[in-house]
Symmetry: C2
Amino acid sequence: MVVVSARSGVTNRLIADAKALHHNPDRRELDLLLSIGEQETIALTAIALQALGVPAVSRTGAQAGICTDAVHTKARIIDINGGDVREQLDDGKVVILAGFQGINRNGQITTLGRGGSDLSAIAMAAALKADLCQIFTDVDGVYTADPRIVPSAKKMNEISYEEMLELASLGSKVMQARAVEFANKYNVVFEVRNSYNNNPGTIVKAETTLEDVVVRGVACDKNQTKVVVTSLPDQPGAAAQIFRALADANVNVDMIVQNIGREGVANLTFTVASDDAYIADQAVKTCLDKLGKGKVVLADRIAKVSVVGVGMRTHSGVAAKVFTTFAENGINIQMISTSEIKISVAIDMERADDAVRVLHTAFDLDKES
Amino acid sequence: MVVVSARSGVTNRLIADAKALHHNPDRRELDLLLSIGEQETIALTAIALQALGVPAVSRTGAQAGICTDAVHTKARIIDINGGDVREQLDDGKVVILAGFQGINRNGQITTLGRGGSDLSAIAMAAALKADLCQIFTDVDGVYTADPRIVPSAKKMNEISYEEMLELASLGSKVMQARAVEFANKYNVVFEVRNSYNNNPGTIVKAETTLEDVVVRGVACDKNQTKVVVTSLPDQPGAAAQIFRALADANVNVDMIVQNIGREGVANLTFTVASDDAYIADQAVKTCLDKLGKGKVVLADRIAKVSVVGVGMRTHSGVAAKVFTTFAENGINIQMISTSEIKISVAIDMERADDAVRVLHTAFDLDKES
């Protein structure tokens, strides 16, 4: 079974056509429009395979029973009945499925949002109880760090869902977190590999045999903005009101630091994705106006550098090594946040690549495993 | 309710893309591919109407319950359940339906073949019991003759289904016969009118108030080839074998003349659409080889000129007037065929336009009605 996306540029062209007619096109109509990109690819792929003598048949999301909720342009999969896919496979056919699309209870075509085709593939693999789902991309797999920054970065043979999720949300462009979450939930083993060669890729699964590796990889997200709120009244609920305002504006907040200052004022610092910076600034300003006190300043020359590894659960000293390494290399840590399996540090953007390289070496990731 | 086709050139581009991959693309895949042309138009049309403040919603053929048989690329409509179209209309919405497409019992997308969108419109009008179906084209309506040939040709205010059917099958490009047949069967009153102006068009319905008009229009089909079979053995079944061979090759035969010649041989002459001439020639040659006798010659400088009118049922003398008119103007009649409401004559292509003009005048069609 093969899941395909629209041809390069098609989805963007369709969105542009719709926006040329209406500044905010109806999302139901947009989904009906966008779904033709994948419908074109499945038919052409099936015809191309047939020309090579391979028995192939295409199926739209609706025909394969990819049932979603009714949230157009970012629908969630709620069930996959598979349509006649199993029957076609048993009949020896290669089934070509349109990724990114589904159908809701009312027979309306929906789309799954960014990374939707990866999600379609993993969800279909779950429905079919497939042994393996292969995600074809333009890199050989998941690396210990971005090879463009760290030439000695190694492709990992395998990685756990949790680590992959952290890497996905920390700036690794390989896959969207949603697809990885789905694979984790339904225990779908998948492989990230290159469509331009036959090299083995990186297997992503629940548990790996390399638990003794403390840090698996180093990620870097340069799309971060630091928001500094100063002179906030040091009263219960002031910070809560700011975070509520940000949540209402759909802004995700990361790496929060709060300091109680002198003279009954507090400082609050956090990071947001740079795409959300303007909305965050507006939301905070409106909130401070209501509080009658406080100032907000944005700093966009920030990068978030993270080390990730499930081995951190059972090994201590990772934070200490990060601090020591940065101190030795004169890299100033502005903020820090941790989870069970990762440590993230906000630093000056100018030192981001250096920081990734020195951490990669410090945690022995340059060596052959 | 509005039924739309694909944008200009889109269907041809999709067919070309498929044929670039496979010389004879699978018809099921081709239908899935071609249907995206209309799916694109309905979404964009709905979005455009919404931008103008008109409440609009699109429906694919499948969503509107256009149920067809399983003959891909030329499916026949077997039922229309309408989906939720009536509900949407009652809710004040303009429903934009994808023409040319339907769905079969197995959930496969089908297309209706040439003129399919006209057929979708008329079939949907029948299902909704609409008062009127308007077919928008690039001419003001149905004319007494092609205005490019006969400048004095008049647009008809109304015409019967039967006359429209004869005109459609006799070379008038306004509409495909299938859509007219469907309208006739379900008694759908429709109007052929111009999308570029607001002029009233031609109403097509079961009965017209103008039964005393003997000849309603003159049509001309220049896409005809005469096939002459000579020295055929004058034995029972020889002609039948030739027509059987032509039918097996899917060639429609028109205007048949058979002469018994001297010395036990017969001549057989008929016309075929020029597109089918090569196939017809091959089929006849194969057949003559088996019969052991006979020759075939093609003559492609032939035109079929026809006069049409339901009034011919109750008026005699139409054939006589055609013969007289042609004799007076030195136009030689090669073959003739008649039905209840039409007379068709095969003549030399060079005289076709003259023939249309003199018949148009002879039957008083130049006059204001």
